[in-house]
Point group: C2
Chain length 149, copies 2
DNA sequence: ATACTTGCAAATGATTTGCCAGTGT
DNA sequence: ACACTGGCAAATCATTTGCAAGTAT
């Protein structure tokens, strides 16, 4: 067990770390996988599989969409990545370390990422009262924003 | 303005009432529309457009799926019907008077309809804190149930 | 060498759209 | 009559699956 190096290691392990996790699980570090991971590290916001396959609009070489989906699923299984359903449009993927809770307006589509913990008490109330633990990072809290209500 | 007759009028207006609303909006009481409404009145639980088109598994004559979707949209516009997205599977439709809030497990798909008001305080907290008014009757509260957590 | 992977095409599921013939009023 | 509707086929969008050819280890 090694000591984490300084830098963004804890909040968002490096690409090398991700490749290490793949290797540790008997999976290969193919160029397509490297590319998908690079895209995820490069993107500031959650991105769709389509945008990853498009090389983030040309910033990176393009790759096959079906493979991107397959690899994203693999990354999720390994705990490296998480995706969120923002109600309209495709699912969006981000590094697990960048996971966030979201609020979405069902009418205008406005998306609002929240600070970690902002919904902690809501989650706790729902869990205690109904035995269901909400994951607003996967299925956001949906409703009408002030402008649309 | 007439006085509501006794009976289930308020909680779930009759089929005749629904047809009256159509008429009052210059829309026709076609047989396809009658059928879709009959299915909605007959169904105990929210139903998919597909099931309505199938005549509720044969209980009623079948009709065209695309038309069912178009008519359900019309009914929603008139406030007669509401649909809910239960995360997996197609949208489910029910008479507006039968609208309910739902809890859904993202893993096993378990669906739990709630008593009216059960989430009133949660909705209120989210509204005050973030300006977003959740509609758990349209997009349920999603998370992990006790068995899956 | 030999699994694991990719890339491409085709299938899937839910819903929408175009269009013309049919029908309620 | 005449606009509103229905029915049917085709299109869309996001995602999945099958499979033969390619490639990391």
């Amino acid at each position: 067990m090694t000591v984490s190096p300084p830098g963004p290691a804890l909040s968002a392990p490096t690409l090398d770390h991700a490749l290490g996790v793949l290797h540790a699980n008997g999976l290969r570090a193919s160029s397509a996988r490297r590319l998908a991971l690079e895209a995820l590290y490069a993107a500031e916001e959650p991105v769709s599989a389509e945008r990853i396959a498009g090389g983030l609009d040309g910033r990176l070489p393009p790759s096959d969409l079906a493979s991107v989906y397959r690899n994203l699923e693999t990354f999720e299984r390994l705990g490296l990545v998480r995706h969120v359903h923002l109600v309209q449009g495709p699912g969006l993927y981000a590094l697990a370390a960048r996971e966030r809770d979201y609020l979405v307006c069902e009418r205008c589509g406005a998306i609002r990422p929240l600070m970690p913990g902002a919904l902690a008490d809501v989650r706790e109330v729902v869990k205690r009262r109904f035995g269901l633990t909400p994951r607003f990072s996967h299925h956001p809290l949906v409703g009408l924003c002030e402008d649309c209500a």
